[in-house]
């Protein structure tokens, strides 16, 4: 075992972790915002808006992220109108293209999680809030959001983890994330597995920490479901 090489490879991979985490964070936040809009359209009561929202979810959940990413990065850039538009400074950067594609995709999944959580709010709770004379916003803040949040958390944590895994795709649009650095080291040194194993260990650890964090949040938010101390 060449510990020196292992150490060097590990730290080179770790140096790429911030980029992976940045892509993850930005796309998850962007996706959350879009998802909120999509859910609002879906439950707005307007039929055309609901159809649009359904179409959005079907398209982004029904096709591979890789082709969505390439459509944004290579496809949009090939359209002259896009190259002359206001958005070109953003769309020519692989980083923003990656964030945009990942964000659009996760929005499809997140919106379904949000919708399921909203539907799980008991009707009686909403009636009671109305009977007390709460306004729409107060009712959302005090009743709907806290209940829906607890319902959404388990599925949401799964989605957050699968987004960490999805960030590896940005290695295919010239970004230097953990995945692409591992492949580069593999190409340069001809050491086949070690860079991939170390990269895998890093991804696994990040996902493990993320999963544990969500689990503890879940536990903290639902003390009423815990067994009574005997």
């Amino acid at each position: 075992m060449d510990w020196d090489f292992i150490g060097k490879t590990f730290w080179r991979l770790m140096a790429a972790l911030p980029l992976t985490l940045e892509v993850w964070l930005f796309s998850v936040v962007l996706g959350g915002l879009i998802a909120a809009g999509v859910v609002w359209m879906r439950v707005s009561g307007s039929k055309p808006l609901a159809v649009l929202a359904r179409g959005y979810v079907a398209i982004f959940r029904g096709t591979p992220l890789l082709i969505q990413l390439f459509l944004v990065y290579y496809g949009l850039a090939s359209i002259p109108a896009v190259r002359h538009s206001l958005f070109w400074p953003i769309l020519r950067e692989p980083f923003y293209c990656g964030v945009l594609a990942l964000g659009l995709c996760t929005a499809g999944y997140q919106s379904e999680i949000f919708r399921g959580a909203l539907l799980a709010v008991p009707h009686g709770a909403i009636e009671a809030a109305k009977a007390c004379g709460m306004s729409g916003l107060t009712m959302f803040r005090r009743i709907i959001f806290p209940i829906a949040l607890r319902h959404a958390l388990p599925a949401y944590s799964t989605e957050m983890i699968s987004m960490v895994k999805a960030t590896a795709l940005v290695s295919l649009i010239t970004l230097w994330d953990v995945m692409s650095v591992a492949l580069k080291i593999r190409n340069d040194t001809l050491v086949t597995y070690l860079p991939l194993i170390l990269a895998g260990a890093i991804y696994f650890t990040v996902n493990y920490i993320l999963g544990a964090a969500f689990l503890s949040l879940e536990r903290r938010l639902s003390p009423h479901l815990r067994a009574r101390p005997s």
Partner: protein, 246 residues
């Protein structure tokens, strides 16, 4: 049409079946996607039922091994698993070949490596689907089977397998969609499935938008159509069951 390119190339001809048309290549790519995903799902079913069985067996070591397998492959990026299986299976095969006296690199066909990668990933999820399905079988049915004197194999064939399949069907339908989408990652190994064909078409005609959009539409058609198939299968499998709500 937005697809009409600046240099005046006719988009209809690009997607057509005539000379210079990519229609047939794209359809064959879609066929390859379906094939590699389906084989991958079957490999995943074999792995998944093995892992589920290891966890249900009550054997501590086997259970821990199954759990570790599932945890690892769900925690790794799918793309990394694809690379790993692709490189790894060739190394294994080269090693095996040198045992029988052949010295030299033996590459695993991209189709085999791809189906294996999809299967390895799918198996880690299918394990949970099968485990939950088994646990959903009413205990009394198993007791009844034992009490009428069925041996284990007969009980598995007549009582367990049909019900596990029925309960697992909705979960398997979801995992089929996941396999279909994961199969696009195999394009990095050069297998001519839909993603790869779209890439080749995009770069050789300089029309990436048209090709990736076309590929996307084909993927969407495949997921929507096969989802319907799974829905129909589910309706058929549960036709004898009482249900709570539509």
């Amino acid at each position: 049409m937005i697809l009409a390119s600046a240099d005046g190339v006719d988009t209809l001809r690009i997607f057509g079946f005539g000379e210079g048309g990519w229609g047939l290549a794209l359809l064959m790519g879609a066929g390859m996607t379906l094939a590699v995903s389906a084989i991958g799902l079957l490999i995943g079913a074999a792995i998944g039922s093995l892992v589920a069985w290891s966890r249900l067996s009550g054997h501590r070591l086997a259970g821990a091994a199954g759990e570790t397998y599932a945890a690892i492959f769900r925690g790794l990026p799918e793309l990394l698993v694809v690379y790993f299986v692709y490189f790894g299976s060739s190394t294994l095969l080269t090693g095996a070949a040198s045992l029988v006296g052949y010295n030299g690199f033996v590459g695993v066909p991209a189709f085999v490596a791809g189906a294996l990668a999809v299967g390895v990933i799918s198996g880690s999820y299918q394990a949970e689907v099968f485990r939950a399905a088994y646990l959903a079988i009413a205990r009394g049915e198993l007791e009844a089977a034992v009490s009428v004197g069925m041996d284990r194999w007969l009980m598995f064939r007549r009582i367990i397998a049909p019900q596990v399949l029925r309960f697992a069907l909705p979960g398997l339908g979801n995992l089929w969609q996941v396999a279909l989408k994961d199969s696009s990652l195999i394009s990095v190994t050069g297998l001519a499935e839909l993603m790869r064909v779209s890439q080749v078409g995009a770069s050789s005609t300089h029309q990436p938008f048209a090709f990736y959009l076309g590929g996307l539409v084909l993927y969407l058609v495949m997921t929507l159509a096969t989802t319907r198939l799974f829905d129909m299968a589910e309706a058929r499998a549960t036709r004898g069951m009482r249900r709570i709500a539509g």
